[in-house]
């Protein structure tokens, strides 16, 4: 009997998305904005502690009130008794929206030809209707940095919110020029260069980086002096980094490369963020001393060296944080960005701790990207990017019940859920011939 009851409860839980999505033929549930009162939840604000039996009022796309007794007669009331409200999670490095099916080149738009293409805009090619966006946001990830990859300066990354019909509607107010720092590591099993060749290639790339940088500096000086410059969009974009208008997002992973990168940026007086930083734990003190913030990940990843401990990647974020590095997390993914909370859980379990791990996917990336006045915590005045869950959103057994992005209530559906609804009990089922 107990078993039957358990199965029944499980079935009920499984049906939740269906019940929430009950609809008549032809009706399509769209994201919709309005005035929403999320009543009587436990609010995990991240920055101002955890508030029990608290309500949150959303209006005009913002969090307008947080408190025990909010009255808003004209608001749509959503009972959140027994539920938890968290800020929407932020993934600090993805290719979301830039690729639909990785093995189909026509749908892959994150790597342009050329070694120096900082003027390539990720935001241009974000596909607001990518299936992966709908699949990702119901997991509680509401905002991601989407980053071009490829050459030395592959393009300009953009922060996007996972709702909207045009890239501009999705734009989250932060851009950075991406750089792949010359690497002394191997790109994979098929990278069969000799150690000597790897070193030579890295040195060559470093020299190229320096030459380009000098050119960009000259470009900026000439521009400031009022010279008439020919059309040179690459230099135009790089000069914005030198002028301090855009930060440089440096992908760097091997320990010696991290050290070189710290040296390389030292006297440049530019805004720098490191991303990847797979071997950060080896030089954590040096990164901390440099004051450069880090977007690290993936956490669920193999160690970079055969001799490393099995948990080198799991524990990397924790070790850097302990050394005093400001750490945010990323999945470095496209269709699997929804796993961000699970990456965070692994980082938490292997040294970062739950509280810091939560910050690493909320307020820390917001601060690193300079948008903490808008994102990363549940506070009045901030953008209404938040989620309602049955429990800790990092736990697989918790269900995310509601997602709000920019004050829009997001339908808790996507193709994965629709396929579940259609095929759980197929009709006709099994039929001979």
């Amino acid at each position: 009997m107990k078993r039957i009851l358990k199965t029944f409860c499980a079935a009920l839980l499984a049906l939740l998305p269906i019940v929430a999505m009950a609809q008549i033929d032809g009706e399509f549930v769209k994201p919709r904005t309005g005035k929403f009162l999320l009543k009587n939840a436990t609010v995990v604000t991240v920055t101002k502690g955890t508030l029990s039996n608290t309500s949150v009022l959303l209006e005009n796309g913002k969090i307008s009130q947080i408190g025990a007794n909010i009255t808003a007669a004209d608001a749509e009331v959503i009972d959140c008794t027994g539920m938890f409200i968290y800020p929407g999670m932020i993934d600090g490095g993805t290719r979301l929206g830039l690729v639909e099916v990785s093995s189909v080149p026509e749908t892959v738009d994150y790597a342009e030809i050329g070694n120096v293409t900082p003027n390539m805009q990720a935001l241009t090619t974000v596909n607001p209707n990518s299936e992966a966006i709908g699949v990702t946001r119901v997991s509680g990830v509401t905002t991601v940095l989407t980053v071009p990859t490829g050459g030395l300066f592959p393009g300009t990354a953009a922060l996007i919110n996972l709702n909207g019909y045009t890239p501009d509607q999705m734009y989250g107010g932060f851009k950075a020029v991406a750089m792949s720092f010359p690497s002394s590591g191997r790109r994979g099993r098929f990278d069969r260069r000799s150690e000597e060749d790897i070193k030579k290639d890295a040195e060559k790339a470093m020299k190229e980086a320096n030459d380009i940088w000098d050119n960009a500096k000259s470009y900026l000086e000439l521009k400031k002096s009022g010279a008439e410059l020919s059309y040179y969009p690459e230099m135009e974009q790089l000069s914005k980094v030198i002028a301090g208008e855009l930060p440089l997002l440096i992908e760097v992973n091997a320990a010696s490369d991290i050290q070189n990168a710290i040296k390389w940026v030292q006297d440049k007086k530019i805004k720098v963020i490191f991303s990847g930083v797979a071997e950060g734990w080896r030089v954590a003190e040096e990164i901390a001393k440099s004051g450069i913030p880090v977007v690290t990940g993936p956490v669920q990843e193999l160690p970079t060296r055969q001799s490393d401990r099995y948990d080198a990647a799991y524990s990397n974020a924790g070790k850097m944080a302990k050394a005093g590095v400001k750490v945010a997390l990323r999945t470095d993914e496209e269709e699997n960005v929804r796993n961000l909370p699970f990456h965070a859980a692994f980082a938490a379990a292997y040294g970062l701790g739950k509280e810091e791990a939560l910050k690493a996917v909320t307020i820390n990336p917001a601060e690193i990207f300079g948008i903490a006045d808008q994102y990363g915590s549940v506070e009045t005045g901030k953008r209404a990017n938040l989620i309602v869950s049955t429990g800790d959103p990092f736990e697989t057994r918790s269900q995310i019940i509601h997602v709000f992005i920019d004050g829009y209530r997001i339908p808790m559906s996507n193709r994965h859920i629709r396929l579940y609804q259609e095929f759980l009990e197929r009709s006709p089922g099994l039929k001979a011939n």
Binding site: L16, G185, S307, T396, Q399, L424, L430
Partner: protein, 463 residues
Amino acid sequence: MNKLNYLLAAFVGLGLSVAQAQTPKGSVLIKNATVLTVTKGNLENSDVLVQDGVIKQIGKNIAAPSGVQTIDATGKFLMPGIIDAHSHVALDVVNEASSPITSEVRMKDVVNPFEIGIYRALAGGVTISHAMHGSANVVGGQNATLKHRWGAKDPADIIMQDAPRTIKFALGENPTRVHGRGNGIQPRTRMGVEAVLRNGFSEALQYKKAWETYNAAKAQKGNTVTPPVYNERLQTLADILDGKIIIHCHSYRADEIYMLINVAKDFNIKKLVFQHTNEGFKVAPEIAEYTMGASVFADWWAYKMEVYYSTAFNAAILQRNGAITSINSDSAELIRHLYHEAAKTQRYGGLTDDEALAMITINPAKQLGIDDKVGSIEVGKQADLVIFESHPLSSYAVPQMTFVDGVKYFDIKSDKDDQRQLVAATEMVEPIFLRANEEAHRCMQDVDAYFEAFQGAFLEEKH
């Protein structure tokens, strides 16, 4: 002289079989754990006694026999060793991509017991992995079921010798790409894949008949019959028809899955497991009725066209339709947290703890034909066990100790920085592999040499 040779050979043979029989077996008493038996419910504050590699007793207040070490697992969780039904860890080579049918090759010939991936899998609680041939061919090679006896130097010592034979099949995009588009031979389409299968099995039936005819004639007195030419490739296919080998078939789309079910029905093949099976949910009733189920990813999708219309609810739909369902890794990275992958069936479909845990223990054991030996905590089973700090389906779960045959091969407290057993002489400078995750997928490894003209286009593909 001849006799001496025979004698010598016999000695060598004996030596080998003794060496195999002597894989380490341990004895240990694990006290006061929450025992997740998977098949017989959960037992609070219970003990499990292991003697000579076998689970001898499960209960409360079991006293340790003299000489048996006791491990206090108060507040901890004990579960059966995790079984990965799809892996390429510990294999030096993955694909023999030279023909659409290569049933004669065996993965046990390319097992590398020194691969660090074995230890890393143990650190994730995985005690058994199904080391598979790749997916380049319609009928690939015969797989090896491995027991993760880390530290063994003889490849034979990490092969689970008492596991039945299994073989890799592959449908759809990979064989049609490699052979049809790559080499200009059948199959180039899913129709061709079916033809390759039906031709192969039909030829095997003829081969089988030829041998049966010969064997019958041979029994006659004064016969002068000559035997048919022995053919390992056809013999293996005949063994599949005789039910001696379990098919594990790489598949994605519902149509190709349904096709193989029909082929299997026509040739009276019962031992069939689908691998990946991303669109298995669309033909879940058929999979449940006619096969040994599906071994799937928890949530991977969209990495190729065939999995674009898939769903993370696949495992739950298959389970609810009564198909035996397991969650696998096919990855040196994912294999380290299959307990977490299994837990995703709770996010995507609300499966119970027992259902989720079965997907990485007893269900893959059934699909590998070893469920009478492993896959649950029951008296008489081989003592492959994992101790977790918290419930293994929690996202914060951390495996603490992993046992194979009662021998502890992983202990988080004595985990050294460098666990390698063997360092190549060429590694004066240790290589650093960045984005190692992309390394982890090896289903299409070793096909590059065949297709130089494609300039590595094959290499970037996963699975």
